[in-house]
Symmetry: C2
């Protein structure tokens, strides 16, 4: 082995949690402040484009503008493709034409598609591309948004199904150009239908005379070009795929999707589910106040409508409340317990739908389970809170009313929390969509109705 | 190319969304019913172990037991490692000793670790292993749970830093045994410190005389064996890694982590965040009613405590409520609007912390933004709902009280929704942990207090 004079550049593992350090951010903003392009370039040089993109998202708009201008042609296409959609739209106009052109020219065609499809005004970028790249991007854009066709890369290393390991090695070693990232050879039949995947590692380890098909992967999933990217991400995660061939309607190989793209989709789908359940359209920390308000207002209006419906229920029982203020004091508890139980069930259901664990085969069993869980939890809290209410206001009847209302509302919570997302999913909608608001509205209204209704019957 | 008589096994891309079809499930349960082992084997043969595991999760406990017994030694280690933790604990005792032994022997050491670490009684499995595998599993278990050491595979294909492409190819082609899945050679210095990654694809495409270090990947992340698996998953997603070397405290190469494992961790972390925010400890659809109740009760007790605190606030204003029932009708709206706005902010914050987008560098700007968003949203709903309240009850003062209370509560919601998860994170806790309950409690109490307090001051 060589002498140890060539010191390793960076063999030290990072113990921290990959957060940009405040010191790093401060050093960079200080360099920007002084307009010191050289110091800035030195500070950014060791940083990954994804981290530079994060930095741009974290600093304020004024510093961001100065930083981008000071970077000049150090601003790379990779930074651009790592940026948040909203921020990208604001940064592109800041880039001089030549910098933008250089930046996008260095990108692979799948990254270009990713960049162009989210852009409000993609012409600036399309114009900068050479004819071949532009044609590739435009043909990818012909596939529906969010489809496998948008996600795949077009360059595929393939081999006829009768080739041996030796044929494959010779072919690859003599190829003019191989894709930058590839992990499998795809075996195809004479009609270009993919037959199997062979990993490069197995090709390396096998004798030259061995047939490729004899060392193919056991697990082999073919993806249709029109398949939804969420399904693609699911398939990669479920079947531990590293790359998968993509075929057109005739089953012919047209591209390949690799796991790093599937992982990014999985992450984005999770984000969407989480935000949708909470009632936020897409969001980013670098959004302006106006964008943020716009993303949240519609959902809050839905919540207001739900609140007014609840208030309308309460107003039907104003006599009972005037007679017994205890009802006003206790009724939010009935609503809140139902809301909490409903949110628990809802979240479990949305997750189970995302992982394809909840299907027609087991929906009835899951509903039965949620019913029993609601009954049991309801009984527990009926006992605790019913007892407490009876003692607090020295009214045994009030305790019984509280207990009955709690059991009713927690049963409803379990049913609604399961059924609403399931039905939304079967209707082809996103099960996370607004189901939070719907469940909360139902448990609020039913909670008020059951509690105040029973109280009117018994106490008045 | 060969004649087309060898028909492709499965070239048809699946258009459906990877859900098990009810027909498939019915055919399988029918075979189980008849005790027809042959028909069952035929139905299960084309299925991926992950899908068989999903099937076991979806059918009821009685059918599950019969199915496992009928499968006999067709039950593979892969199915076992794809199963849910809770279900795995229930299925292992159903397996005959020889079937279990055969099943675990076929697993790779990283899958074995994954299987053993979640088991209530791992001895049954450890006993079935040969000495080498048991030693590998036991040394992996010496690393903390959830660390990179548990995630990595030990077999690494490495090369001295001075090797050429020719050296690498000869080495791999002459190796007795190569790992089943590998995508890079890791270059190491004489002290076994990893220096760089070279993809197999580039080795295939480069001239034999080329130095490996000249075709190394530009992006290179080294992971410490004690690093948290969540951080590892983040690094893979952020830097688009396919595999990364793992080093011990002295920086020596001890293993490698591949992206498929990182993707599974990312998915599990998302699930945890989602469930924690909703107040559910780990959950699965195959959990029994008792397990489900146990996973949800603690959080519901927290919600009850929060509800009682809210009731205590309301009870301070019983005089005002007796005098004006309108207060009881409207107060849930103030609380609910704050709760919804708080949940929105909370979700955005938890997500931003997970993606390392929220740091000390921008927390003050984010808080300022949330304050402004709360003020704007509050003003919108103050106008709408204040006006509505004034008209509904024909009391202009009530409209003004409603408006003021809404603005106050939505401001508080924005601040609490940002601060609570951020502080939890800085204290080293999971920011999703119970922050939902805390935010809802605060907005409930502050909503009731602001609305009823103002009403007492103005109206009484």
């Amino acid at each position: 082995m060589s002498d140890s004079s060539t010191e390793p550049l960076d063999t030290q593992a990072r113990e921290e949690d990959y957060e940009l350090s405040p010191r790093q951010v401060m050093a960079i903003t200080y360099a920007v402040e002084r307009g010191d392009a050289e110091a800035l370039a030195e500070l950014l040089e060791p940083m990954h484009p994804a981290d530079i993109a994060d930095l741009l998202e974290q600093i304020n708009a004024f510093d961001r503008g100065r930083l981008v201008r000071l970077m000049g042609d150090e601003f790379s296409g990779e930074i651009l493709s790592e940026l948040d959609d909203a921020l990208r739209d604001r940064i592109i106009p800041l880039l001089p034409k030549t910098v933008l052109e250089d930046a996008v020219r260095e990108l692979d065609s799948d990254d270009l598609v990713d960049l162009v499809e989210d852009l409000d005004a993609p012409e600036a970028i399309l114009d900068a591309l050479d004819d071949r790249d532009r044609a590739a991007v435009e043909s990818a854009l012909a596939y529906p948004e969010g489809s496998a066709g948008r996600l795949m890369q077009r360059e595929v290393v393939m081999a006829p199904e009768h080739w041996t390991v030796g044929d494959a090695i010779d072919h690859m070693r003599n190829a003019d150009h191989l894709p930058d990232q590839f992990y499998h050879m795809v075996l195809v039949d004479p009609r270009l239908h993919p037959i199997a995947n062979v990993t490069l590692g197995r090709i390396m380890g096998a004798p030259r005379a061995k047939l490729l098909r004899d060392i193919a992967e056991e697990v082999f999933e073919v993806i249709s070009v029109t398949q939804d990217e969420g399904d693609v991400a699911y398939a990669f995660n479920q079947y531990h795929l590293i790359s998968a061939p993509v075929v057109d309607e005739d089953g012919r190989l047209v591209g390949v999707i690799t796991i790093d793209d599937a992982m990014a989709v999985l992450d984005a789908e999770h984000e969407e589910d989480m935000l949708l359940m909470a009632g936020v359209s897409e969001s980013s920390l670098s959004d302006s106040v106006a964008d943020t308000v716009r993303a949240r207002l519609p959902w809050l209006f839905a919540a207001l409508a739900a609140g007014i419906a609840g208030a309308a229920v309460i107003s039907q029982f104003d006599e009972a409340i005037s007679a017994f203020v205890a009802l006003a004091i206790l009724m939010p508890i009935v609503a809140a317990m139902g809301g909490n139980a409903g949110t628990q069930t809802l979240t479990v259901t949305v997750r189970a739908l995302a992982t394809r664990d909840l299907t027609r085969a087991n929906i009835m069993r899951v509903i039965r389970r949620e019913f029993l869980v609601g009954l049991l939890n309801g009984t527990v809290f009926a006992t605790v809170m019913g007892g407490l209410a009876a003692v607090w206001f020295d009214m045994p009847e009030l305790g019984l009313i509280m207990a009955a209302a709690l059991i009713i509302n927690m049963l409803i919570a379990g049913l609604v929390g399961t059924m609403v997302p399931y039905v939304l999913d079967k209707l082809g909608a996103d099960p996370a969509l607004a189901s939070g608001t719907f469940v909360a509205t139902t448990t609020d209204m039913m909670g008020f109705f059951a509690f105040l209704g029973l109280a009117s019957l018994v106490l008045l």
